[in-house]
């Protein structure tokens, strides 16, 4: 066994390196890999006494249960719709803002506006929701504004038809400024002589945006779009958890919130593990699919 002898020798020689990676290795092993091993309870009747391995296999029972559950269709539909609408409204917003920032001519003004626009990104979801609740009350800011247009007061957070609008628009408010950073970085690589050439050709500003700026941010856009597509089921359920209530469950209840209620609050561990596994599976397929699509269409891919 010359090779294993060599390996031991190499390990001894690199013992400091091995010592250095050990804590990180153990943390990842325990807190990332053990839960992966724990996914098996999605296929088992979990008994805390007999442990994860000792529990009996039940096959796809919980998956079948989920798809027969009338709630399943509701949470799947809500998750998908919130994801699609968030992408549709939320994805273009920072791109447009970055292009507008780029047209600002006074550097100081530009810097100040940018800095202010990043602010909501740093504020916790709990605070955002606290403010949002105050503004959406019967006598809150939103109703005061609505009253200028002659609208009757609405208790926004109890109205299912308002939930998506409030959720998505507040997401955009939080993320639009910070979302411009990567696009602005791409725009800063534009060679200024390109603009001079365009000026000589008599191009107007819209033409310059279309023919100079857009091609520069296109690769960034595609990569971020792939990531967003694969995250379409990954709605920020923590925010929903703070924003929804039984009045709005019919549109607001998503996979994440359902998992939390049934799993952590209701202790239906096997059933909710199965749902979680299903969600990760779909997310993985989406990531691979989106990446393949993008590679075909534009030669850009994330791996």
């Amino acid at each position: 066994m010359v090779s294993s002898h060599k390996l031991i020798k190499a390990c001894w020689k690199q013992r400091y390196f091995l010592l250095m990676v050990l804590p990180g290795f153990l943390i990842v092993l325990v807190f990332s890999y053990f839960p992966m091993y724990g996914i098996q309870i999605a296929f088992k009747k979990y008994s805390a006494v007999r442990g994860m391995w000792g529990s009996d296999w039940v096959g796809f029972k919980y998956f079948v249960l989920f798809f027969q559950d009338p709630m399943a269709m509701r949470v799947l539909k809500n998750t998908l719709l919130l994801g699609v609408y968030s992408l549709l409204w939320g994805f273009p917003a920072p791109i447009i803002l970055a292009l507008l920032f780029n047209e600002l001519k006074r550097p100081v003004f530009k810097k100040v506006v940018q800095t202010i626009s990043y602010l909501p990104h740093f504020i916790s979801t709990v605070i955002i929701i606290g403010i949002l609740r105050t503004f959406t009350e019967r006598d809150g800011l939103f109703n005061q504004i609505a009253a200028w247009f002659g609208s009757e007061p609405i208790v926004f957070l109890s109205e299912p038809e308002w939930f998506r609008t409030i959720f998505i628009s507040s997401n955009i408010w939080q993320g639009i400024g910070f979302g411009t950073i990567l696009y602005l970085a791409a725009l800063s690589s534009v060679d200024p002589t390109l603009y001079d050439v365009a000026n000589i050709d008599g191009a107007n500003r819209w033409k310059k945006v279309l023919n100079i700026n857009w091609p520069h941010i296109k690769p960034t856009t595609i990569i971020l779009l792939i990531l967003s597509l694969s995250g379409i089921l990954g709605t920020d359920f923590q925010k929903i958890l703070l924003l929804y209530n039984p009045d709005t469950y019919e549109v607001a209840d998503v996979i994440g919130t359902y998992l939390y209620r049934e799993g952590i609050m209701g202790s239906r561990f096997e059933y909710t593990t199965a749902i979680g596994l299903f969600q990760s599976f779909v997310a993985f397929i989406l990531l691979v699919g989106a990446n393949m699509l993008s590679r075909k269409v534009s030669d850009t891919s994330i791996w």
């Binding site: 250095m20 990676v21 990842v28 740093f122 916790s124 403010i131 105050t134 970085a185």
Partner: protein
């Protein structure tokens, strides 16, 4: 720039300027309104005529929350969780990333794959919760601090940063008889101060603003971070409706404050540290996003 600009171009500049000012108002107004409300008289709050300046002057809301011992314990715990998780994150990430830059490190390939897998697959909420339960980590500080402190993404970022440090530095240190722990501490870490500062801020802000892990893993209110104390004020204690609130209402009106004074006061108190370091913070965050982008 060409001297003459078309009318259309100038109109666009004007419109763009107005849009930017509106954007600033939309970003700042909510926060100014919260501060103003927290300091206003209850009659004005009920009338809803507060904009960005306090009407009347009333610090009753602050007095009320400063009497709550949970506010202090929340602050203390948020600081413990933020500093603890950030220190562990920086230490373990640095330690793990450095050997991965050494071309002939024996475990290099294995560890890279070991880490990449966690970027695509995870056990999910429920198995993680069951693990914490079976390890008896529920209601401990460790379950808030440790699990998130080593992420594959950060390790790879640190590694690519170390790779920009010339290899000659290490080689000459080896010749001088330094071992690799000394090299990491005395050469690599001092050279990566900007990286460490950026990630320290990422870690502290992330931890300060997080609340869901604490909600899942902690039942003991004495260990709650500030965000959960805030949540309790905003949600569980419903001052304005429901049963059994008459006593509360009477007490509040005796103190001449409204429940909004209290809620907005605690929002301000929780927001305060972030606002103070904000100018500094945003600069580093922008840098951090760039580091991530170069890698990703």
């Amino acid at each position: 720039m060409v001297g003459k600009e078309s009318v259309g171009s100038r109109i666009f500049d004007l419109v763009n300027m107005v849009l930017m000012l509106l954007l600033c108002v939309a970003m700042l107004y909510p926060f100014l309104n919260v501060i103003a409300t927290s300091l206003s008289n209850s009659e004005h709050i009920l009338r809803g005529d507060i904009t960005i300046f306090p009407k009347g002057f009333n610090i009753g809301g602050y007095k009320y929350i400063l009497k709550d011992p949970f506010l202090y314990s929340g602050y203390a715990h948020s600081i413990i969780y933020a500093i603890g998780s950030t220190l562990f994150m920086l230490t373990f990430t640095s330690l793990m990333a450095y050997p991965l830059t050494i071309p002939d490190f024996v475990a290099k390939k294995f560890l890279s794959i070991f880490l990449v897998i966690t970027m695509f697959f995870s056990g999910g909420l429920i198995p993680s919760y069951l693990l914490a339960r079976s390890l008896h980590l529920l209601d401990t500080y460790w379950i808030i601090i440790i699990p998130g402190c080593v992420s594959a993404f950060n390790v790879f970022l640190f590694r690519s940063f170390y790779q920009t440090i010339p290899a000659d530095l290490r080689e000459s240190a080896v010749i001088d008889g330094a071992n690799d722990i000394q090299i990491l501490v005395k050469i690599m870490l001092p050279l990566s101060k900007p990286l460490l500062a950026t990630f320290a801020l990422f870690g502290i802000v992330g931890s300060w603003n997080s609340w869901f892990e604490a909600l899942v893993y902690l039942q003991d209110e004495n260990k709650y971070p500030l965000q959960l104390i805030l949540r309790k004020y905003l949600f569980s204690i419903s001052f304005d409706s429901g049963t059994g609130t008459e006593v509360m209402q009477a007490m509040l009106s005796q103190m001449n404050i409204s429940s909004k004074n209290i809620q907005m006061a605690i929002v301000v108190v929780v927001m305060f540290p972030i606002m103070v370091i904000y100018p500094f913070l945003q600069k580093y965050f922008v840098k951090g996003v760039m580091i991530g982008a170069v890698k990703g």
